[in-house]
Assembly symmetry: C2
Homo-oligomer: 140 residues x 2
DNA sequence: TAGCACTTTGCAACTGGGTTGCAAAAAAGT
DNA sequence: ACTTTTTTGCAACCCAGTTGCAAAGTGCTA
């Protein structure tokens, strides 16, 4: 994805496009799986951890990315779809591979409605399945 | 729950009943919600954090407790049912209250089967809904 | 374009949950 | 009683996430 496209995309979401933000955005776009702060830290040696963190927090606020926790309590971030408000994080399933530590976004798995007992109000839902991914399965 | 009952229960699961283990067990039993390491640490001032941790790890291994992560990556532990192998953690839903930080075990909510795409193998499933619990709702 | 305000960044330091090495204490075996 | 094994407390560490602060960068005004 080109510099200019990212710039336009960020500004559409109400974020000024700085060098770091574009760098982080590009990294998120080119990783084809949800990535963690430390993965980004490793990939983007020129950018400080705290800056990446702040960029990700900003992206979260402005629905540029959504995040979910894997089975170790580590957040994985991935870009939202382009249009409008991102509510993907509320509804879809993630798979975390305990072997390679990568996570997968299983958009296509149907998730049924859950009705909470009286009095509970839901803000977000996290469905994470831990196990072994096809790639690691094959490697054994 | 009495000392002797706990001792019997632990030994039935193949764990020697030491003072710390009984203390931790009792704390888990008397808290009627799933509790975290730090909650136990606070409640059991006589027992060291690392000891509580080791007891919990042992309990996990021997299916005395099961655990799940809330939305902050913090583990919550709760006693398994008494009989046989505990597979509760594989199937039921937890609710984490973002206001009071307590978690609830929603055993009675029906969770439908999820079929993973070809090649994925599931070891455990985590379904956590974050939001506001009835108690905190009422307090506002 | 100089001066000023605001924003963004890097650095260092810290938090908090979880985890480990090690030696002392306790329990079990002989 | 003495040796061996298990359990425990302490201190220290790991790592993800987070913050305070000052320096650098950006942009605006005059």
């Amino acid at each position: 994805m080109e510099y200019k496209d990212i710039e336009i995309r960020l500004e559409k979401k109400g974020i000024k496009a700085t060098a770091n933000r574009i760098t982080v955005y590009r990294a998120l776009a080119s990783a084809h799986v949800p990535v963690t702060l430390s993965m980004l830290e490793e990939a983007l040696v020129t950018v400080d951890k705290s800056s990446i963190f702040r960029v990700l927090s900003l992206f979260l606020e402005h629905d540029v990315v959504h995040a979910f926790e894997d089975g170790r309590g580590v957040l994985h971030y991935e870009l939202c779809g382009n249009e409008g408000h991102c509510d993907l994080s509320d509804s879809h399933l993630h798979f975390y591979c305990e072997s390679c530590q990568k996570s997968y976004c299983l958009d296509d798995v149907h998730l049924p409605e859950i009705s909470l007992p009286q009095g509970f109000t839901s803000h977000s839902i996290s469905f994470v399945i831990k196990g072994i991914c096809p790639h690691c399965q094959a490697r054994q």
